[in-house]
């Protein structure tokens, strides 16, 4: 079956592949695509894991005793310098070469998905790929976020390649995320739930099958390449029912620690943003600060899974564990806040395990419990639930690490629920949504009431389709010049290059009804210099408010809110309305 004018029966869909159009059952298609997305994401994950691992061991060869954690074997000077070198390389590649601006990572994916912007560019995967440098050089971050992001971009790019409808691309993005988490944790069920509750933010039955297939395929492929390894090996343990109230208290404490982690990351990010230095050098500065911490406390460097496994196997030293908890938050805040690419999932696990082990040791000392291990494991669940806003992922991941023992279910659910309660009570969002909430973007509320507040102006800013005209040019001369141009709008500048306004050819013609006026008016006479200015971080709600105050069809977008910020592009009233219509059709 081929051709472009196929009538599609109910339940079927058209896809275009290698220039040919096929009709296929929608369900079959999504199943197949789920598998493809899962396979590709798993292969990318394997490459990511191996490059981070070999990067670390090739750049900084292991010289320690057998069984010693790699970073501990390095000389203090190496620990000081290596995150800075990593930051310098990724800062240069990301901001100087790649010219990356604005948000990326899981928050950007969440916001795009929530606003119906499902087509991601392959280029967006670059920051995620560069996270290997952060991890290989000891930056305090995790691989899960970048891998989930790569998965989502894989889903989106594959969807675009076979030209599937926008609303189905959303499912493929979810499949990619699930595959990424499944591959990195060797935990397929946790992958499914992470995609549903963090990225898609709903539990649609229609999305479940392709996402589950992607997760399973990714797990199988990763298993084949990396083996059936778990990052943390947990010895079997039991929890007596009388300890349930203690887990309730522990859940509340996990909630408080989650809030400190969420707000700590945000505080570091905004503090480092204010330092007056080139953006591309900040990751190196962040790396140097993390290196400084690493000289004295190397435990907080890198993903931290080796040390997590160590603590889970042999929890000891309450004060030291609490020290690690505090410095891990600081090191992660500095690493990510300074612009080093990386995720916040693994640090959350680290913080949860350290806090849990400390709590467990304290209660063991008091004679209230027999072992600190259950609290160390539940700490992981608590932080994933509280800090990442992913309670089901937390439970599934914990069950996976405890061989799905049913007797831990009640303490697990208690910890996860109460931790989530505390975070919600203080309206902290999660590490992914906290800054969005601070800037007035509530994904859940906006999905129901105001989709325009989710979409940034940058998403629909046109960076071309216009030409420049000097303000002093006679309108007659400008009309002659514009006749030769395919541009839709003309940017008018003063003699010294400062932005003056925007004109369309239509506006020029409408203004000049008589030929002799062509010599009376110069372009600057026709330009409305009072039109509102937008910048990329504003939302389409702001843009629509600005449009309502003017009859302009397009508004200028500048690089920032500063008065002298360079002109970047234009945004049209029609494109704002189209974005709204597209979203409301999707939801």
């Amino acid at each position: 079956m081929s051709g472009n004018n196929i009538k599609t029966p109910t339940g079927m869909m058209q896809i275009t592949l290698v220039g040919r159009t096929f009709v296929i059952s929608r369900f079959t298609f999504l199943m197949v695509m789920g598998g493809v997305v899962g396979a590709v994401t798993a292969l990318v994950t394997v490459a990511f894991r191996l490059s981070a691992h070999y990067g670390e061991h090739r750049l900084f060869p292991f010289h320690g005793d057998p069984g010693q954690i790699h970073v501990f074997s390095l000389a203090a000077l190496k620990r000081l310098v290596m995150p800075a070198v990593g930051g310098l390389i990724s800062g240069f590649l990301l901001f100087k070469v790649g010219k990356f601006k604005g948000t990326h990572g899981i928050p950007a994916i969440m916001q795009s998905v929530a606003s119906g912007q499902h087509f991601f560019k392959l280029r967006m995967a670059i920051p995620s790929a560069l996270a290997t440098i952060t991890l290989a050089t000891g930056g305090s971050a995790g691989p899960e976020g970048p891998i989930a992001e790569i998965g989502s971009i894989t889903g989106s790019v594959l969807g675009r390649t076979v030209k599937v409808p926008n609303r189905l691309v959303k499912t493929m993005i979810g499949a990619g995320v699930a595959a990424g988490i499944s591959a990195v944790f060797n935990a397929p069920i946790a992958g499914i739930f992470f995609a549903l509750e963090v990225i898609l933010r709903n539990y649609e039955v229609a999305s479940f099958t392709p996402i589950a297939i992607a997760s399973v395929v990714a797990s199988v492929i990763t298993h084949a390449f990396l083996g059936d390894r778990m990052a943390i090996v947990v010895e079997p343990f039991g929890i007596p029912p009388r300890e349930l109230p203690l887990f309730a208290l522990f859940g509340l404490l996990c909630g408080l620690v989650s809030i400190v982690y969420i707000r700590g990351l945000s505080l570091c990010h905004h503090s480092l943003k204010r330092i007056p230095m080139p953006m591309w050098l900040k990751p190196a500065l962040g790396g140097l600060l993390v290196g400084l911490i690493g000289v004295f406390i190397p435990h907080v460097m890198g993903e931290g899974y080796d040390w997590i496994a160590h603590v889970v196997a042999r929890p000891e030293g309450i004060a030291f564990l609490l020290l690690l908890l505090v410095f891990k938050i600081l090191a992660t805040g500095i690493t990510l806040g300074s612009g080093n690419p990386g995720g916040s999932f693994a640090p959350a696990v680290f913080i949860g395990v350290m806090g849990g082990a400390a709590f467990g040791l304290l209660t063991t000392k008091a004679g209230w419990t027999a072992s600190a291990l259950p609290y160390a494991v539940m700490g992981m669940a608590g932080l994933i639930s509280g800090a990442l806003g992913a309670p089901f992922t937390a439970m599934m991941l914990t069950l996976r690490h405890t061989a799905y023992r049913s007797d831990i279910l009640l303490p697990l659910m208690t910890t996860v629920a109460l931790c989530g309660f505390v975070v919600q009570r203080f309206r902290s969002g999660s590490v992914y949504t906290h800054d969005m909430l601070r800037s007035g973007i509530d994904l859940d509320r906006a999905r129901q009431s105001d989709p325009l507040s989710l979409i940034k102006v940058s998403a629909i800013t046109l960076l071309d389709h216009f030409e420049e005209l000097p303000g002093a040019m006679l309108v007659g001369d400008a009309l002659e010049r514009c006749k030769q141009s395919a541009a839709r709008w003309f940017i008018v500048r003063r003699a010294k290059g400062a932005f003056l306004g925007i004109l369309s050819l239509h506006e020029m013609r409408m203004a000049i009804s008589e030929d002799d006026l062509c010599r009376l008016f110069v372009i600057s006479d026709l330009v409305d210099t009072s039109i509102p200015r937008l910048h990329p971080e504003m939302t389409l709600r702001d843009a629509l408010t600005a449009f309502s105050a003017t009859d302009a069809e397009v508004l200028p977008v500048f690089e920032s809110a500063e008065a002298q910020a360079p002109f970047q592009g234009v945004i049209s009233r029609q494109d704002v309305l189209n974005a709204y219509n597209e979203f409301t059709e999707l939801v």
Binding site: G471, A472, L474, A511, I512, S513, E514, D516, L517, R519, L520, F521, V522, S524, D525, L526, V527, D528, T529, S530, T550, D551
Partner: protein
């Protein structure tokens, strides 16, 4: 923004109609700017003069037929204001037909009034293209009769 209801005839005020000696065009514009600078609609007279001269340096507002229409829209003006200069001897204004200018209609507006500004400016040559009207305005005995003649036209 709906099309402006304001008309040139509403803006012509006898106190802002000047008889100019045969001076250079810069001096003529300066005299008109000084005349309007005390008006509450002009928030900064110096800036108005600077903008008028700047605009004139970009392209002459002399359009031929003995007519010039200097104009600007700037934030330092709050609403439309019109001043008229009359020169029986004529002022060199770098016009396309090379003839000196006898009537100068200087219009200033706020930068928020782009569309009505263009509408008002476009109306001036439409009326003054008629030589009889120009002649009548030049021969008006005083500013009041000049304003009355202007009031007879829809522009």
């Amino acid at each position: 923004m709906p099309p402006s209801k304001i008309k040139i005839s509403d803006l012509v005020q006898p106190r802002l109609i000047l008889d100019l000696p045969p001076v250079a065009k810069g001096e003529a514009i300066e005299a008109l700017c000084r005349a309007v600078s005390g008006d509450p609609r002009v928030l900064d007279g110096e800036e108005l003069l600077r903008a008028m001269l700047q605009r004139e340096s970009e392209a002459s507002t002399g359009i031929g037929l003995g007519l010039a229409i200097p104009h600007v829209k700037i934030p330092q003006v709050s609403d439309f204001i019109l001043a008229v200069g009359r020169s029986r001897e004529g002022i060199e204004f770098d016009t396309p037909d090379g003839t000196p200018v006898h009537l100068i209609f200087m219009l200033a507006a706020s930068n928020r009034q782009t569309k009505p500004f263009i509408h008002l400016l476009a109306g001036i040559p439409q009326v003054l293209r008629d030589e009889a009207v120009r002649q009548e305005l030049l021969e008006a005995g005083n500013p009041e009769s000049f304003a009355r003649i202007c009031g007879r036209y829809e522009w």
